[in-house]
Symmetry: C2
Subunit: 480 residues, 2 copies
């Protein structure tokens, strides 16, 4: 940590990578495109996982586990699916010293193998709905990778549900999008735009894909979670049928939805600043770091003892706390390190605080005096609880303001290009273009349709590109 | 579930498979050797995982995640390691539509790739010990597979630690064996024998392997968890060194330890009976099932309502409870189904119970009147809590007695073969044989040395095979 962190304005990509490496969230691995999630990053992922898993269970889902390997022939059964995934597959051709008769694909996603099992398990309307989620690793061969955002192997959850009617499947797909939005806003402090993907951007095999889009610190978009209404595409490819109440065989309707370790990248990019990470309190592996401060050895023992006593109080109150009593580093060094690592609240305890029976709380998200407050020792737990809630609100409000300030409306393609080139951000426009128009815009500007936002009120306007009247609104942006 | 479950004495292997399939713990997958862990089985695994993870964190470990793919050249760096694992590897030769320059191995275990990263991370004695655990899937190419016990892909945890001294590494390896034993006895109600593996049976790359061995219902042994002192073997292969306090470069000492979804198989085989599973209460996904009983429609509403009210009371008390209010099945059908699925306690609530303001609790592990007790409605939570504790104790005591009754001592090889052929079980003997003797005994009797048990008091005796005097005691058995 000798060299200074690059600032975001100097080099955003390098800032991002350096923050992750120096904060020890992750590291490069010797296998090209694969990363190592280090303990601090994995603890963050565990908190993400627990917050999501709780929501999945509250909405009636159960977890299961399906095989890592999928026969190549399965992938080929759904036409759009194989077109989308074939270029990204890792293929096992040898096992136990022999060449395999049929190559096995390392799962890039599990619709096919799960579809096969559902066809076996589902017999009657009484077996529906099937509401299963899987926590797993998946592999997609990527040439240009970036820590957390795009790695060959990543961790994720994939929900796979089967329903008796189209309406129920649509409801499920929308419900899970709401779960993702709720998680992102209330746990990760990330405001999102909910909407539908364009035909070009939708999942390979879906009828409709829904997405939650967030704005990163460089004003690019990141798709933070997706939920797909798969209609009967996979039901027909894998013959998943049930006997309805009238004893008629019907195909089921399925959905799938996923969120991955990408979210860690989003947290870094939405909240991080030039000093490093700023972790949202509800997900932070360490919510409070206590730095005991002493000059003379006589003070050391009692200051360190008090630090551990305060830590015990906080821990009993359900706070994730760490005491940094290392002797080889100065308080200033520690302050910088924990700022880099994004711990939301720091507690300083020195000899004078002991005498005054108080501690100093300092917020990561608010530098200087403004972010410091002194609380009586007896009130440290409630003081910390209040502060963590404030930090969450403040991070969310800041990100929300940033999103709003950097969302622009334009009425011509010239203006569109001008805004993208000079100001960046999301561009919200009326849109009546074709798939070809969308592709052309991407080629010319690198901006893609992130979604057709749900919050559009249905009013009519003029498409900025074709000049046609339309009620459809799209959000364009550069995206990860 | 039309056909009757085979009894254990009729066909143990078939009983095992049928219990797992019918209880819906797991299912076969279309990929040879891979299984699907169904929601009920996965919920059991989640409870196992949580109980272990809590213990790992209490002993100072943190979780991380390392890549699924390992370069073939890494596996080859430790001589014993590659010899042990080469025949079991799944190999990725193609990615993104191209042949790879160096094939990638799907991890069979992660000592090598983690060793590589530790060499990068560890610089000084201040960085030690490194205490990392990983929850992951691994793949070992198996020709003859069996649900949970031996599958091509399985889920597990693998701890990997690095230490400054040989003593610390040894302590760690022994500590984690104790953690496994504590988990098995206090969560899974499985008594175990702790001991050291023979040279022939130890982990490929270890200096010493420790094991916890359990006795299954057919008197075979199952290695339920292992902990390895790896000495400096991997430190030297991957050049993992640190500067000690005297500024001298030293190799670290490493350990690894793992427990897998095999444990689910052990739970089935240790506790299961001819009616199906008997799940240990602390791990059971459903600890209590409530079956409301009604004959006439007038009774139905209030009985079902009461069932849900009792369920709410139990849930608030931290009990995992399920109300089976399906209308298409009789109470008798439900009793059988939940017995098959091993739920430790069943609550029956009928109209007469409502009038008497009481419920009937029935134990899965004790059939008939003996296992039933009536408790006042107001005491249902405490009644269930007491009963669950009793069921745990009783399952443990029963398994312990079975282990003891089926552990035999012999003084000659003739007697050894005789006992194995007629009575089975564990054979505890003085042992001074060579590796070759051990292999010959395996070829002739299929029995292997499960471990040199720690509980031997050090006294001297005569080896049953060589006639030599020795203080070493071994336990032989047929094993999964």
């Amino acid at each position: 940590m000798s060299e200074k962190l690059p600032t975001r304005s100097e080099n955003y990509a390098e800032w991002y990578t350096q923050v992750i490496l120096r904060a020890e969230l992750a590291d490069y691995s010797p296998v090209r495109g694969c990363m190592v999630i280090r303990p601090y990053g994995y603890a963050l992922w565990e908190n993400i996982r627990n917050a999501l898993d709780r929501r999945f269970k509250e909405t009636g889902h159960v977890n299961a586990y399906f095989p890592l390997f999928i026969p190549m022939s399965f992938i080929e059964k759904e036409k759009q699916h194989v077109e989308g995934f074939a270029p990204e597959l890792a293929v096992v051709t040898h096992g136990g010293g022999k060449e395999l008769e049929e190559p096995l694909v390392v799962r890039p996603t599990s619709e096919t193998i799960i579809g096969y099992m559902y066809a076996k398990w589902i017999r009657s309307y009484r077996d529906l709905p099937v509401l299963i989620n899987q926590w797993a690793n998946v592999v997609r061969w990527e040439m240009r990778t970036r820590l957390f955002l795009r790695t060959m192997e990543f961790l994720w959850q994939e929900g796979h549900t089967a329903h008796a009617t189209a309406e129920e499947a649509e409801e499920e797909a929308r419900r899970m999008l709401d779960v993702y939005a709720d998680f992102l806003e209330n746990e990760a402090a990330i405001p999102v735009i909910k909407g539908q993907k364009s035909e070009i951007e939708k999942f390979a095999g879906a009828v409709r894909s829904y997405t939650v889009e967030a704005m990163m610190g460089n004003k690019w978009a990141l798709q933070a979670g997706t939920s797909h209404n798969l209609g009967q595409n996979f039901a027909k490819a894998f013959n998943i049928r049930y006997l309805d109440r009238n004893n008629q065989l019907q195909y089921v309707w399925t959905t799938s939805w996923g969120m991955s370790t990408r979210v860690v990248g989003a947290i870094v990019m939405v909240h991080g600043d030039d000093q490093g990470l700023r972790l949202p309190p509800r997900l932070a592996p360490i919510q409070v770091v206590i730095v005991p401060i002493w000059r003379q050895d006589v003070d050391k023992t009692r200051v360190v003892e008090t630090a551990h006593r305060v830590a015990a109080t906080l821990q009993e109150g359900g706070i994730r706390v760490h005491v940094d009593d290392r002797e080889e580093h100065t308080p200033g060094f520690k302050f910088n390190e924990w700022e880099l690592r994004g711990v939301p609240v720091r507690i300083e305890i020195g000899p004078r605080d002991l005498e005054a029976d108080q501690v100093v709380l300092a917020r990561r998200d608010m530098p200087g005096k403004e972010g410091r407050r002194t609380v009586p020792m007896a009130e440290v737990l409630s003081g910390v609880q209040v502060l963590l809630a404030e930090v969450h609100q403040s991070l969310f409000a800041q990100a929300k303001r940033f999103l709003e300030e950097n969302t622009h409306e334009v009425s011509t393609y010239e203006e569109f290009k001008e805004v993208l080139a000079t100001r960046g951000g999301f561009i919200r426009v009326f849109w009546a273009g074709s798939d070809e128009d969308e592709i052309r815009i991407k080629e010319e500007t690198k901006a893609t349709i992130r979604c057709y936002p749900f919050d559009h009120d249905g009013s009519e306007g003029t498409c900025f590109y074709t000049g046609k009247r339309t009620t459809r609104v799209a959000i364009f942006a550069r995206a990860y």
